[in-house]
Amino acid sequence: MSHLYFIFTVAAYSLSWGCYLAFLNTGRALLGTCGSALLGLGLVTHYFALLERSRGLHTVPYHDLYGSMSLFGWLLALTYLALEFYHQQRSVGAFAVPFILAFFMTAHLAPADRLSPTVAHGVVFALHVTLSILAYAAFALSFVLSVIYLAEERLLRNRKLSNVVWRLPSLELLERMSHSSVLVGVISIAIGTVLGFIWVDRLTGQYWFYDPKYVITLVVLFLYLLYFQLARSTAWRGARASKLCVFNFFVVVMSFTVVNLYLSHSHRYF
């Protein structure tokens, strides 16, 4: 059955990507609507694929690196769809869906139990992990939006307008979408981190012990708050703020990869 969900999800995400690309290329509203509908369908089948995988392993979907990646992809799709619905803008789908598809496929094509499990149980822990991964997904989306902003801004400044530029969101809207996404990320990571401390306290009887993951998470939080502040300032307003957003995401990637895999004592997969 999980194989079936895998095929359905890959098909839905791939077709969704195709529709979004065609929408960007032709501007036909129907294609954009199809892209959104197929992404929604993929979200549902992806959910069942995650559920099947968890049942198969008798644990939570973020039990290993690949489960975390799949959950990341699912939350990225969810965040993107929510953002698309909120801002009524479908042109970004062509850039966001390939990431979702890549994370889903990498996670589900890899062996399920390659790494040993962490101690993972309880509602507080589940919320801590889910909110942290949601934050990373939202930051990933703000990264995609900032890259589009920078590309469009460069084309407009250089007066080299290709056909696609006319179908992309306006710079102002891209900025707003990026802000919305970062806001979701900041709130999620803040709550997720607090829940993490509460869970550690329950587990060990102390809120804090040194772990590079704590430090980098606080750095990430600080950097995105700084982005909010600078994006409204005279010197940073516009492209510079978007560059900071891109830089911030590289720190997130560092946190998700290097810190998790090699430095952290208590975090491995999220």
Partner: protein
């Protein structure tokens, strides 16, 4: 149920003729009324815009004969000599008339390819004629289909989305930066024709606030009144450059009126909010080096002209897609028209055969005197049943099969084939 169209447009008639053959609402009402009362047309609709005057109708007789009558009527109605009018008028019949209207509605026949206004004008003309009771089932169906074509072409193709003038290119670029312009402010420098065109575009796109700055205060005030703008004193850059998001400059000046240093100060004062500048002056009004200022987007005439060229090519590339939509709806309309006509034809055929049957039986019974009255009655009934049976299946198929109706393109040929004898008699 034929359709006739007689009209002229920007391609067939010079403006001197077009202005004489245009219609006010009252004239359109009167023309439609007279055309029907004189028996030239049964259904009528007058479409009059600045570039075209067309009369669509359903004539009581063949469309070619009606077209001649319609041309004479137009000459008399507009008091234009027939020889002047005849070189400008075009005549389209049936499927060609339908196709012409659908292309007009799609913006394919407009002077500016894909312009949006024509769809509204077709809608208004139809609404007006419908309310006057001038249209009937054919024109109602035809104009409703034309409005559908117009909507589809605009939503499914990019025929009308790209800018076709320097002014619209500039305003569309501003929207690329700021999105909707409802909350934005534009400062227009100069009050000439180009400035006026840009203000028209800005107003159409719902600009929040318009500021005008011109050396001649009188002209600026006149334009400000027309466009609900505010006049700003010439040269007071410090205040004037603080609020606008868009600056449009079209001033006759030998030297740039806005130098980089002035704009740098202004950007600092306005917290580096993005500023889009359209420099439409020749020589240029804005120092070119201002393009390097952070968050300033500077476009001159050549830049905007390049976008217009690119857009024109893009619009022309969209023509085949728009034509496909037009063809699809012409096919649908003709299929509907054929179904109505074919059902009518079957009814006529049935009446004709009944008549023939009665005459045939009467004639043959003269030679079969040995048959009783009962036998004769039975024979008449049997022949009647046979005729009904023969006609039942084709009639039902015509009602139920769209594809069959589509295949039968020429109902008149069928009418000639089956009903021509009666006409000859």
């Amino acid at each position: 149920m034929e359709i006739v169209l007689v009209g002229l447009n920007h391609r067939t008639a010079p403006v001197e003729v077009r202005e004489r053959v245009s219609y006010t609402a009252e004239q359109a009402r009167r023309a439609a009324s007279e055309l029907r009362s004189r028996g030239i047309l049964e259904e009528t609709l007058v479409l009059s815009t600045c570039n075209r005057s067309e009369v669509y109708g359903v004539p009581p007789e063949t469309s070619h004969e009606s077209a001649a009558g319609l041309s004479s009527f137009l000459s008399e109605f507009h008091k234009v000599q027939p020889d002047i009018l005849s070189v400008s008028l075009y005549h389209h019949y049936d499927r060609h008339a339908v196709r012409h209207l659908f292309r007009v509605s799609a913006g394919l026949d407009s002077m500016m390819l894909g312009e949006a206004e024509i769809l509204g004008q077709v809608r208004e003309a139809y609404k007006f004629a419908y309310e006057q009771g001038a249209t009937g089932p054919v024109l109602n169906r035809m104009f409703q289909a034309a409005l559908e074509v117009g909507k589809r072409v605009r939503s499914e193709t990019e025929l009308g989305t790209r800018p076709m003038s320097v002014a619209s290119a500039g305003v569309k670029l501003a929207e690329r930066i700021f999105g909707k312009l409802g909350q934005r402010t534009a400062l227009v420098l100069g009050a000439g024709t180009i400035s006026e065109q840009v203000m028209l575009q800005l107003r159409d796109r719902g600009i929040g606030q318009l500021l005008l700055m011109n050396r001649s205060l009188e002209r600026a005030e006149k334009l400000a009144t027309e466009f609900h703008g505010t006049v700003v004193p010439w040269g007071e850059w410090g205040d004037a450059l603080r609020s606008p998001d868009v600056i449009v400059s079209s001033v006759a000046a030998e030297e740039p009126i806005l130098e980089r240093a002035i704009l740098e100060q202004a950007m600092a004062a306005r917290g580096n909010r993005a500023l889009f500048i359209m420099d439409l002056g020749l020589p240029r009004n804005i120092e070119p080096a201002a393009a390097d200022i952070y968050n300033v987007y500077l476009y001159n005439l050549d830049d905007l002209g390049g976008i217009v060229q690119q857009s024109r090519a893009m619009r022309e590339n969209e023509i085949p897609r728009a034509e496909t939509i037009v063809d699809e709806h012409v096919g649908k309309f003709l299929s509907w028209q054929a179904s109505v006509e074919l059902v009518g034809l079957v009814d006529e055929l049935r009446a004709r055969l009944r008549h023939e049957r009665t005459a045939f039986i009467r004639e043959r019974m003269e030679t079969m005197k040995h048959l009783s009255a009962h036998d004769r009655q039975q024979m008449e009934l049997l022949m009647g049943e046979l005729l009904e049976k023969l006609l039942l299946e084709p009639a039902e198929r015509l009602r139920g099969e769209k594809e069959l109706r589509r295949k039968i393109q020429n109902v008149e040929a069928l009418r000639d084939l089956f009903l021509s004898n009666r006409e000859k008699q």
